[in-house]
Amino acid sequence: MEKDEKNMTCCCSCSSPNALPQEIVAYIHECMQKPHSESYLIPVLHKIQNHFGYLSPVYLEEVAQLMHIPASKITGVATFYHLFSFTPRGKNRISVCLGTACYVKGSGKLMERFKEKLGIKENETTPDGMFSIECSRCFGACALAPVVVVNDKVYGDVKPEQVEKILADYGFKK
């Protein structure tokens, strides 16, 4: 195992190149030195998703090898948690909050409007890869309800009429 990890190709027999960047591999090695190393699986998945925007099977395979955890278990864990995505998301990620406070203030209508304008469903990406849309359950900014988050920018007190304007800010054309 030790020897394989230093190779530039994947350590399983798939012969694909090593997909994970050096810093994540180093982080995994660091975790492996700690007691209960398997408990760092979720932090590792977070790091991969932050880096690539999603979890592809290739990365998960590599994590399995490096962390000595069966790939089946990793898939089980990754699919259990909503934050992990398995498909590349759009360049601009639109997240409509459907938490209670936002919902009673009409965020359901905002979601409908976004879907209608972009012509996609929840958790889908537009064919040009520019936009993806997802629902989220509360950012904890309930006083600003209804809340829409595009990438890292928070829009508060959004009205359905503003949907087109927000999309236009990110270069959406009808």
């Binding site: 408990s39 955890i69 459907l98 203030k105 904890g140 309930c142 006083a143």
Partner: protein
């Protein structure tokens, strides 16, 4: 060898000196709110603008600093100007342009811009003094209204009525000294008031500025020290802030500021003076119950873990605040992260753990960042890690992020998640206190429970247990949101009624609509109608009403909310968050959701209500964990209190609130339509016909019931039924 407490006190002296030099020596201090919601509202730009303005005026004695969220979320970004000897001025909804003006007029020329402050604080900042008389139950029983009357009479007689403002506060926890009053901005608390003492206060203190030392209360409490910084006495006066004592007051990223407000003194005290069992006994005596929702006595939970012979034990802080509409934990961690660490250390010491975890949502990046900084800072100062404060006691804290699974708020699921597995609950017993993380005794406490611990240790269990009701002690923090005028974070003594929270603190319903329901306890809680508004907020009373305390989300709904739709919303949430392990929850919630969907689609039929009730009771009784056991609550409480709305949907095919689009039709009133074409232009599906200046009509077949026409019509010609 100095004891841990002496070491800490020495550190505090240095910190106070440093904080004073850096922040308080200046005659004016500007604080800008800094939390997720503040930043989203634009606080960062405002902070930078003040910074630029200060740089432009070299030599000006002004200090700028960041503070956590003070809880006035709907008015953010908030800027407070604290000047010596004056009531702090709170500016709301500040933007860079307003910041320029505030700097020019207020900072440079001493003129308060009343237009930028809250309407209700009008006149407050020009007053010489503000007197707040405690109107809590005990003071009320001791005739605090006579005290108020005496103040009014005396200030009128002395001709200073226009310079003094009189307000009333909620219980401030000084019941044995009552009636009490607080004098701003002097920061003086007078105790055991009588009309005669009031007369003397007015003549000596208010008129001649001589404090009457013989009547002041000079005790020290963690919680009362921040009064002079609150500013908006009307909002803060209605609260008792124990766990939020430092939020919005200190800079959350400064260890010195936390030390200056007696931070880490509680842990130093127990390391010096108390054995673990004494700490457990103190917490038992205080009557503290878990603030995460269950309400299990905290001391008892600790005792179970402490009794285990294992050498390795773990302490976990549950900050997986998954309830939509709840942001107590986020605000607390963002506003005062060291308190959480100190609480975790106190608990760890009590049960004999040497390692603690904070399990926090990944959706809260700022809270995580502040916790990380707090851990690093306290480690560097020897307050965390090995041989803490020279006591020989070791304790380490690690942060673990959640990944968006509501069920991980459940204790056993949370443990599995930290272990790196799917966050699915396990049957209890064994309880985590016996066999938890990696099979070792583990105690999991909620953020708010932990934040109470320094208060209990320093101010005493007896005092803590004097607040609240017989079975629910202390205070509770609520995240007030929805259709309420003042959304925000509030902390009130247990036993305060829902009405007081929604109408007194929350300012009632937005846009003077009618109140319909208040939802407590998140998706697992229930919706309580107007008849239940006098329910006191404590664990048992809320349970009796069919809801739960939960972690503290409180969502207010008005007449425009459809209760069937809301119940469907909650069930949709719990259904998708069900981990799938046990059948009643996995399949039962799905079946209930299907019925609710049918009802809101206008296809409800006779017998649906009975089916919902039956399924609800089965899911409640047969599910493994709290998520399933509580999932039917929103449906069952709305059936109980708003059954007529369900019947209207099913039998009359009507949605009384006009929310369920399948049951709503929009029509144009020919009497009122002037043919302005506004609705026709805005209709997204072009289903409105009519020439200019002619009566328009809606083609019902194409209408998608979006409500745009209703919103744009200036002549009230669109009707919804």
């Amino acid at each position: 060898m100095p004891t841990s407490l002496e070491k800490l006190q020495d550190m505090r002296r240095k910190s106070i000196f440093k904080v004073f030099e850096e922040k308080f020596r200046a005659s004016i201090r500007i604080t800008v709110g800094s939390a997720t919601c503040e930043n989203a509202a634009g606080a960062t730009d405002v902070y930078e603008r003040f910074q630029q303005n200060i740089q432009k005026h070299a030599g000006l004695e002004v200090i700028l600093s960041k503070v956590g969220c003070a809880g006035r979320c709907d008015l953010e970004p908030m800027v407070t100007i604290v000047s010596h000897g004056q009531i702090p001025v709170k500016y709301m909804r500040v933007n860079p342009e307003k910041a320029d003006k505030i700097f020019e007029d207020h900072i440079l020329h001493g003129k308060v811009l009343e237009d930028f402050t809250m309407r209700r604080t009008a006149g407050l900042y020009n007053a010489q003094r503000v007197i707040t008389v405690c109107g809590g139950k005990n003071c009320f029983d001791k005739h605090c209204s006579d005290i108020e009357k005496a103040f009014l009479e005396n200030i009128q007689k002395l001709g200073i009525a226009d310079k003094i403002i009189l307000t009333r506060s909620a219980c401030q926890g000084l019941c044995q000294y009552g009636p009490v009053c607080y004098v701003y901005p002097d920061g003086i608390m007078y105790q055991k008031l009588t009309p005669d003492i009031v007369k003397q206060i007015c003549e000596e203190h208010l008129l001649k500025n001589h404090t009457l030392g013989q009547y002041t209360w000079t005790g020290e409490r963690l919680t009362n020290r921040s009064f002079p910084f609150f500013g908006d006495v009307y909002f803060f006066g209605k609260q008792l802030r124990l766990t939020l004592r430092n939020c919005g007051v200190i800079d959350p990223e400064s260890l010195d500021e936390y030390l200056a407000v007696r931070g880490y003194e509680a842990i130093a005290k127990i390391l010096t003076e108390m054995k673990p069992q004494q700490v457990i006994d103190t917490v038992k005596k205080s009557g503290l119950r878990g603030r995460g929702g269950g309400g299990f006595p905290t001391g008892q939970k600790w005792q179970f873990a402490a009794n285990q012979p294992d050498k390795e034990k773990y302490m976990i802080c549950n900050a997986d605040e998954g309830d939509p509409g709840a942001f107590m934990d986020r605000s607390m961690i963002e506003g005062d992260p060291h308190t959480i660490l100190e609480g975790l250390m106190i608990a760890g010491y009590a049960i004999g753990a040497s390692k603690g975890f904070v399990y926090i949502r990944a959706e809260y990046p700022l809270a995580v960042q502040r916790l990380e900084k707090a851990i690093a800072d306290s480690k560097k100062s020897g307050l965390l890690g090995e041989n803490i404060l020279g006591s020989g006691w070791n304790f380490d804290i690690e942060i673990r992020l959640g990944a968006g699974a509501f069920v991980c708020g459940e204790e056993t699921a949370l443990i599995h998640s930290i272990e790196g597995s799917r966050g699915m609950p396990s049957p209890r017993p064994p309880y985590p206190a016996i066999s938890g993380l990696w099979g070792k005794p583990t105690v999991i406490n909620n953020v708010e429970s932990l934040a109470n611990l320094p208060v209990i240790i320093l101010d005493g269990a007896d005092w803590f247990s004097s607040i609240g009701t017989e079975k629910s002690k202390g205070t509770k923090v609520f995240a007030l949101a929805g259709k309420v005028a003042n959304t925000g974070l509030v902390e009130v003594p247990m036993g305060t009624t829902l009405r007081e929270v929604v109408f007194d603190v929350g300012g009632g319903i937005k846009n003077s609509k009618a109140f319909k329901a208040v939802q407590t306890g998140g998706p697992a809680g229930g919706c309580l109608p107007a008849e239940c508004l006098d329910t006191p907020v404590d664990y048992d009373s809320l349970n009796a009403a069919g809801s739960i305390m939960g972690s503290g989300g409180m969502i207010v709904m008005d007449e425009e909310t459809c209760m069937v739709d809301v119940a469907k919303f909650f069930l949709d949430f719990t259904q998708s968050e069900s981990c799938g392990k046990c059948t009643p929850c996995r399949e039962g919630t799905r079946a209930m959701l299907a019925i609710l969907q049918k009802i809101t689609d206008g296809k409800g039929e006779d017998g649906d209500i009975e089916k919902l009730e039956r399924l609800g009771s089965i899911i409640k009784n047969a599910s493994l964990c709290g998520l399933g056991q509580c999932a039917p609550n929103p449906v069952l409480t709305t059936l109980k209190y708003f059954g007529h709305e369900y019947r209207a949907h099913i039998y009359s095919k009507k949605c009384p609130a006009g929310v369920c689009s399948a049951l709503v039709t929009y029509n144009i009133d020919p009497e009122k339509c002037v043919g302005c074409t506004a609705c026709k232009k805005k209709c997204p599906v072009n289903c409105i016909t009519g020439d200019p200046k002619r009566i328009h009509a809606i083609n019902q077949e194409d209408c998608i019931k979006c409500g745009t026409c209703l919103a744009v019509c200036k002549f009230n010609a669109i009707t919804k039924s």
